[in-house]
């Protein structure tokens, strides 16, 4: 009875949206690196995107049920790779996040662990069969996400570690957590968070400084608050219509920090204004809505969970990155999906979308 899944069922709509975002990303990277030593990164980004697209098609051919089956193994390997990166990893910018595979290829395990966690979470809640969550169930979910999160946090890479959170949150939400449990958990975290804040020992010095500088960026314009201040100036100076491509003084004058990765949205807003920025938000809106629609149409529970996991991670990254750029959130070093330069981030996004494609293609299987 299985219907052959063909490219007719491929999500061409989603692909178009993603393609559009990729083009915008390449153009903005080109503009942002025009007068810097990073010139030519747009070409490398095109390379990443091509590899990403190829992988996306490839993954879309793999039955996601098989992924769900092998998820525990992948989870085990994921944990091992996180431990390995601690032991043999390359130190970049003060954190051990990369494993050098030789030949100039670096591999960031924390990105693909994110993918594993999404599948793993889907499998776990599927196994719970929709019953009311007990505290033990919740604790297990926390342990499953928490162990890799702590490993990544220790690298130290607070940004990536935080992106594991939406997987847990969406899992618990869709998995049927009750309001009472939610309130208890929130109170618990508020207490722990407050305690950590007061002791100030849980966060590294630069992490603490980032949060402090977020709260009051004007205190030290040349220190950590500098990035947020420059980003806000770039966004604000863009105005309604923007200054035009290659015309942003903040971006071109090297005032905006890393305008091709974490602050690419600030560069885009400076050059294309509020209108351009809202257009990007609209694209994200369409992509996310399409994902949720796919989740609704998925043929079974793990399919829905996986798509929603992907959507949650993307939404979280959009929120944290753009929130940082416009000065609503502290600097955490989370890239903007489909916009920021960087291979690992692109690979994660396209692999995740590949799985989503597969889920969509199999929506009529049952």
């Amino acid at each position: 009875m299985r219907r052959f899944s063909s490219f007719r069922d491929f999500d061409w709509m989603l692909l178009t949206l993603v393609f559009l975002m990729s083009i915008i990303s390449v153009l903005e990277i080109k503009s942002a690196t025009l007068h810097t030593k990073f010139r030519g990164f747009d070409h490398k980004q095109i390379g990443f995107l091509l590899v990403g697209l190829a992988l996306m098609f490839l993954v879309s051919r793999i039955d996601y049920h098989w992924l769900v089956d092998i998820a525990p193994w992948a989870y085990g390997i994921g944990l091992l790779s996180l431990v390995a990166v601690k032991l043999v990893g390359t130190t970049v910018l003060g954190g051990k996040r990369w494993i050098n595979l030789g030949g100039g290829v670096h591999f960031q395990p924390s990105e693909w662990v994110k993918l594993v966690l999404i599948v793993m979470m889907a499998r776990y809640f599927w196994g719970l069969a929709g019953r009311d969550l007990s505290w033990v169930d919740i604790a297990k979910a926390f342990a499953m996400i928490g162990v890799p999160m702590v490993l990544v946090f220790k690298q130290p890479d607070l940004g990536t570690a935080l992106t594991y959170l939406p997987v847990l949150v969406v899992g618990l939400f869709l998995g049927g957590i009750r309001m009472k449990q939610t309130v208890v958990l929130l109170l618990l975290f508020a207490m722990i968070g407050g305690g950590a804040w007061l002791s100030g020992k849980r966060l590294k010095g630069y992490q603490m400084a980032r949060i402090n500088s977020f709260i009051n960026p004007d205190t030290d314009p040349r220190g950590t608050g500098y990035q947020i201040l420059q980003s806000k100036i770039a966004v604000g100076a863009g105005g309604l219509w923007g200054k035009g491509t290659n015309q942003g003084t903040q971006t071109q004058g090297d005032f905006l920090p890393i305008p091709y990765t974490d602050f690419i949205f600030a560069a885009f807003c400076e050059e294309h204004g509020f209108v351009g920025g809202v257009a990007i938000l609209l694209l994200y809106f369409l992509i996310l809505m399409r994902l949720i629609e796919n989740a609704q149409q998925a043929s079974d529970v793990p399919g829905t969970f996986i798509v929603m996991g992907v959507a949650a991670v993307l939404l979280f990254q959009i929120l944290v990155n753009i929130g940082m750029v416009v000065g609503l959130m502290p600097v955490t070093g989370i890239p903007l999906p489909l916009m920021s330069y960087g291979g690992s981030s692109i690979l994660f996004t396209f692999l995740a979308l590949g799985i989503v494609m597969n889920i969509r293609m199999r929506r009529f299987v049952n």
Binding site: G127, G239, T249, G277, V278, P302, M308, A312, I318, G327
Partner: protein, 655 residues
């Protein structure tokens, strides 16, 4: 894998996630994106003008604001050292693409050698990039115009208003005042300057150094916003500069002026002091230098001219020259001889010298029979050879040390010298040899190993004339300083300080009368006498090369004897004591008119003051006691009951 339930691929469980929950997530997406859009709206629509302005003026720069140093006044509030506004050129390194490429143009426009700019850059290589480098101080209007005209080519050049030191011209009081300069790299590494920054200007000598803490203010800064061309367009905030405090010196400009004039053409030193208090009234060291050259830009030529000058222009000879005192030492000898009850009854037959221990010691004249009354005004060497022989070196050393020889006086100026007073213990310690009685003879006339500074002589002889009240010389009124600063100064400059030594009134009278006689007819300095002024003093002619006593020739050039004179007025409890050292000046009598000019200027000025016109002509009679005047106020030699204002009266000479 207890944690993970087994899955079945073809499960019949086809329950789905509740549609309502998925629907709810759509609202969450909308909410999140709306919040982000609102954040953008806030910046891009509501804040656009502000952020456009910030983007235009996007550079925060810390510009130094120099605190003006405190001014320095004389005791009557007349200005000695002032500041003047000037413009300095700084180099900002933050936005420079290729600094080295710009150096030749900079060098041309600022009239600086290329290697000087490179040396400055190297010096600041380790300091943070946002610290501006002082490139050239006190730039000319032409150089300022160059910087303005080259804003696009050389955006790294910036001009700041500055305050510079303006010292009196021609080295007037230069050694006393000192000078300021930028901290050197070595200075910055020393503990003393641990809290200073490169480019800070500090006092490097004289009062500027000792009282740097008071004179220097606290530099401020301005957080300035500049456009991409380096032009200032706004200010974010500022730390106000606190100006330094003004400082009043004990110097009297009129006395100083007289002293400078009197020392014109002489190498050496002159110090005038009020022995009642230790306040320095004038301080001159020659040759001098121009401190203005040091505070702005010291040219290589001027520097080498200064350091290669054999007469040591940088040396403050009033406190640093250590030389044989010659016959001025005879006052201390007389004190020792009288207090030991040896000199009173001593009469010596002077036939142009005498023989001691098989060696002939010459006197410059045949004085005939000499007692203590004539030994001082005639400066008879034979008398003091004999006295020294009778007292012995350790007795002499005891009295000399009591009046402060071989110790610093503790004056509040840097790098005072202590001098030397020989004794048996001193010789054993320094030369590991015993003292030979024959060596004592030449010490009796201030030759041999005795070495004093002019300030020591002024304090010692002024103190003896004040009946044994010796004061710590100082150039700043301690009670005008913050108390902790005053005590810090006192402990930073240890020395003989304030001291009272017992002197029998008759001996006091004998010595002071004899010193007055030295300025009278037949005295060694009779030609320097001042009509109507009770002027007393003692000459000294100190051999420079051979320390053999009693040489009759003065020598020539660099071997010519040093001419000393210590004078005071009035003879007892003097209001002013002046020590003059004229290097290679020959006979001590030559220095007496120098001191006389200063004393005359001082007395004349005091008499011109209101209420000082009443003169009391009276024989200078010693008080019943030495009247060492514990409250430190000036005391005239006249009886204190004569006139209420008499305490302030300068002396008048017996008609």
């Amino acid at each position: 894998m207890a944690l993970i339930p087994k899955t079945e691929r073809h499960s019949d469980r086809d329950e789905k996630v509740a549609a309502g929950k998925l629907h709810a997530t759509q609202y969450i997406v909308v909410l999140v994106l709306a919040v982000l859009a609102a954040g953008m709206w806030r910046l891009q629509v509501l804040g656009v003008d502000n952020y456009r302005m910030l983007a235009e003026a996007n550079r925060v720069r810390k510009d130094p604001v120099r605190a003006p140093r405190g001014k320095i006044f004389d005791r009557e509030g007349r200005i000695l050292v002032d500041n003047y506004p000037s413009v300095s050129c700084f180099l900002l390194r933050e936005q420079v693409k290729d600094l080295n490429a710009d150096i030749p143009l900079m060098a041309r426009g600022l009239d600086l050698p290329v290697d000087a700019i490179e040396a400055t850059l190297r010096r600041y290589a380790s300091s943070p990039k946002y610290v501006p480098i002082p490139l050239k101080q006190d730039i000319t209007p032409d150089e300022q115009a160059f910087i303005e005209a080259h804003r696009n080519e050389l955006p790294e050049l910036e001009t700041f208003d500055d305050q510079r030191r303006l010292y009196p011209r021609d080295g007037f009081a230069a050694h006393l005042i000192g000078y300021v300069g930028e901290l050197s790299a070595e200075d910055l590494n020393s503990a003393k300057f641990a809290f200073y920054e490169p480019g800070d200007v500090v006092g490097k000598s004289g009062v500027e150094e000792t009282y740097d803490e008071i004179l220097r203010g606290k530099d401020g800064s301005r957080d300035v916003i500049v456009d991409s061309h380096g032009k200032e367009v706004g200010q974010l905030g500022q730390q106000i500069a606190t100006p330094g405090q003004d400082l009043r010196l004990t110097i009297d400009l009129d006395v100083q002026r007289a002293a400078e004039l009197a020392m014109e053409g002489h190498n050496g030193a002159l110090v005038a002091m009020d022995p009642h208090t230790g306040e320095i009234l004038a301080m001159v060291s020659r040759p001098t230098y121009d401190p203005n050259q040091f505070s702005v830009r010291l040219t290589k030529d001027y520097w080498s001219q200064i350091v290669n000058n054999p007469d040591h222009p940088m040396m403050n000879k009033t406190i640093q020259a250590q030389l044989a005192p010659g016959s001025t030492f005879k006052i201390i000898m007389s004190l020792a001889g009288l207090e030991e009850n040896v000199a009173q009854s001593m009469h010596v037959m002077c036939n142009g010298g005498a023989t001691f221990y098989g060696r002939f010691f010459a006197c410059d004249r045949h004085h005939g029979m000499v007692g203590i009354d004539h030994a001082i005004p005639w400066s008879c060497d034979t008398f003091y050879y004999t006295l020294a022989n009778k007292l012995g070196i350790d007795t002499i050393a005891k009295y000399a040390t009591e009046v402060g020889l071989s110790q610093k006086t503790g004056i509040d100026l840097p790098d005072e010298a202590a001098g030397t007073m020989p004794s048996t213990a001193w010789k054993m310690k320094t030369q590991h040899d015993k003292w030979y009685a024959g060596e004592t003879i030449s010490v009796g006339i201030g030759q041999g190993a005795v070495q004093v500074t002019p300030i020591q002589l002024a304090r010692a002889l002024g103190g003896i004339a004040s009946g044994g009240v010796l004061k710590r010389p100082h150039v700043v009124f301690p009670d005008e300083l913050p108390p902790e600063m005053a005590s810090a100064i006192e402990s930073s400059f240890p020395g003989s300080g304030d001291r009272v030594i017992p002197i029998t009134p008759e001996n006091w009278e004998t010595i002071t009368n004899a010193m007055a006689a030295a300025l009278g007819p037949g005295g060694t300095a009779g030609a320097a006498h001042l009509d109507g002024i009770d002027f007393a003093g003692k000459t000294g002619t100190a051999e420079v090369i051979s320390h053999s006593a009693g040489a009759t020739s003065l020598g020539t050039g660099a071997t010519r004897a040093n001419a000393w004179f210590v004078g005071m007025a009035p003879r007892r409890n003097p209001d002013i004591v002046v020590a003059v050292l004229w290097e290679h000046g020959g006979w001590g009598a030559g220095s007496a008119p120098v001191a006389a000019q200063v004393i005359n200027a001082y007395i004349t000025k005091q008499r011109k003051k209101e209420g000082n016109l009443v003169r009391v002509a009276e024989a200078p009679k010693p008080a019943a006691t030495p009247a060492p005047n514990p409250d430190g106020g000036p005391t005239a030699s006249v009886a204190p009951a004569v006139h209420p204002g008499a305490a302030n009266l300068p002396a008048v000479r017996q008609p």
